[in-house]
Symmetry: C2
Amino acid sequence: MSLEEARALDRSDPLRAFRDRFVLPEGVVYLDGNSLGALPKATAARQREVVEEEWGNALIRSWTGAGWIDAPQRVGAGIAKLLGAKPNEVLVADSTSVNLYKLLVAASRLSDRKVLLTEAGNFHTDLHIASGAAELVGLRLDIAPRSEIERRIGADTNLLLLTHVHYKTGERFDMAAVTARAREAGALTVWDLSHSAGAVPLRLSEDGAELAVGCGYKYLNGGPGAPAFLYVAEHLQERLDSPLRGWMGHSAPFDFTDDYRPAPGISRFLAGTPPILSLMALESGVRSFEGAAMDALWLKSAALFDFFARLMDERCPELVCVSPREAERRGSHISFRHPNAFEICQVLIEDGLIGDFRTPDILRFGLTPLYLRFEDLWRAAEACAAVLRSARWREPRFAVRGKVT
Amino acid sequence: MSLEEARALDRSDPLRAFRDRFVLPEGVVYLDGNSLGALPKATAARQREVVEEEWGNALIRSWTGAGWIDAPQRVGAGIAKLLGAKPNEVLVADSTSVNLYKLLVAASRLSDRKVLLTEAGNFHTDLHIASGAAELVGLRLDIAPRSEIERRIGADTNLLLLTHVHYKTGERFDMAAVTARAREAGALTVWDLSHSAGAVPLRLSEDGAELAVGCGYKYLNGGPGAPAFLYVAEHLQERLDSPLRGWMGHSAPFDFTDDYRPAPGISRFLAGTPPILSLMALESGVRSFEGAAMDALWLKSAALFDFFARLMDERCPELVCVSPREAERRGSHISFRHPNAFEICQVLIEDGLIGDFRTPDILRFGLTPLYLRFEDLWRAAEACAAVLRSARWREPRFAVRGKVT
């Protein structure tokens, strides 16, 4: 496994041209696109236009003239393509946390059942939002270990909340099977797609998914804190009422009426005025996928994973891979366990290999097929091996964290 | 009242230099800064830096390296100066609608009382959000005419929700008096400052205000859909729990714990990840006030109002002013009633005078002292007079709205 082999793989990569769409700083190998996607070059130009022309010169007229007012639905329809959903089933709004709250509260009202079931060690914002929602609507939160989730779905389950690809390990649920299992038991499932959207092939309609939320700033390259999206299957839309009755979700927001009438369809899940600069950057990020089929991206992701996993097995056996090896059981990142993951991560970043640390002992690397080369991963494995062999991660400056062995 | 007089007023305006901080397109008189503030020139440069340097080159490292992670509190502290609040009492987060929801739900839990009192014809998102919150926490929404509000505050009033400056007429409540009246009756008041912040002098601490929300994209010049702010008086912060328990409001967001522990102080009102591009533009917008005291801005606002009101009385008597003439009873916009306000507004915009229409018959003009000249208002009155005297607003193209007389 040499640099030459990596370069040969890059030469035969059918997606190699997409890398040119992104700003990637010199001297950096960026394996954190699952936390903050890289800047598409088109976004830089587009943001200047949005700020300087649309806001600066056209001012308030851009709400209609530049299509700001329809952006939540329009960008949602763009994301729907990546999710295997209908264009009118996805909306961009607020943050993942806020969208999750809307769906949990709205969906919980469809049944008298009293349990909201979710996974221990789920991304914490999901657990916290669920606890807040459950408290308000009178549900009991049941936080179960991953291995027991399916068994616990029962006659008292109102909602099942799961993250499709685990933020730490990358483990992936079988969406079709779990959704069907819950539906048989009379429960609705809410999927968090934050580590899935733009990363793994999704077929929400085909898999019978009914409710989902997800993040705009990871694989969708929407920029820091980009607005999030939510998905509501068409057949459910008119049955759900958002608890956050903001004016943008009103059926006639410019009638300024005292009474609330939810907009038809997905638009009722809008709340307040969306952050347009961030929303336009997300639109541009979603466009960076144009011409790349999700299935082709996934093939490359799987190849990147296998290549990197083999390199790391060989050169960094101290780092224990905790992500599933079988492609269909994981997402597009790879994680390793090491007692000094924190210190190693800091030293790697100093060396220009950007991944991230997840407490207490996980070193996580995002494998983004749109802009990563096999050569980047070869360099990443070299950097890891060099750092592990050095004494730098044992330096006294890390003693403050009290974890230096 | 001639153009020369207007220009003389501009020459003696101590704030005249501030206009240079803004992009103001040629051939436009912009009287809609109360709906979307103009673009500060510094923001255009700053956005390039945020997008191209901080996101593009520094990538994920900017969360700490460029101060993104502290921006909600930092920008909040900047806004606090304009509100007469302590720096740790204001936070930037989400939209006005979502922030209002958080405060209503959180504050309602402090008492067993069952009524949420608000004003008929209040900005509709306030009424709708209030209805959604009231339904969930079991409050009854009492929507009373403005003249009856104070009388209706009683032993059953849990919360009073009022917009400080009315979005349509510009009428302003006496914050200190109303807050005191509610407090005497044992109720908390939530103020919506959307048309007040950056427009009228506010002294939240001095006036005993306890809870407030407001908008970033109007007088604060934060850009389209800029994130909103919320204010919680220090003594209440630890007693309130946000129903939206997003990870950013956790006491240790990077510990990724299953249990929720709210952050100390104002930070507990953060929910999900904030939209950084929009948030940085807001920071830049708030900085456009640097060096201008709110009291000086208000003096100019009042002078602009008086000058424009007199001009309009003289030249456009068909337009009936519905805003209070006494400065202390109003905000920084002026509104007129006319049965064809919609059509007149459209024709004025075509002529480069940008104000806005509010259903059913209001023509509204924002008077923003940071960047408006008396000369602009002289031209605005000329434009109004010319349009009213023309037949253009009676053209058949407007017949579709069925309001042409």
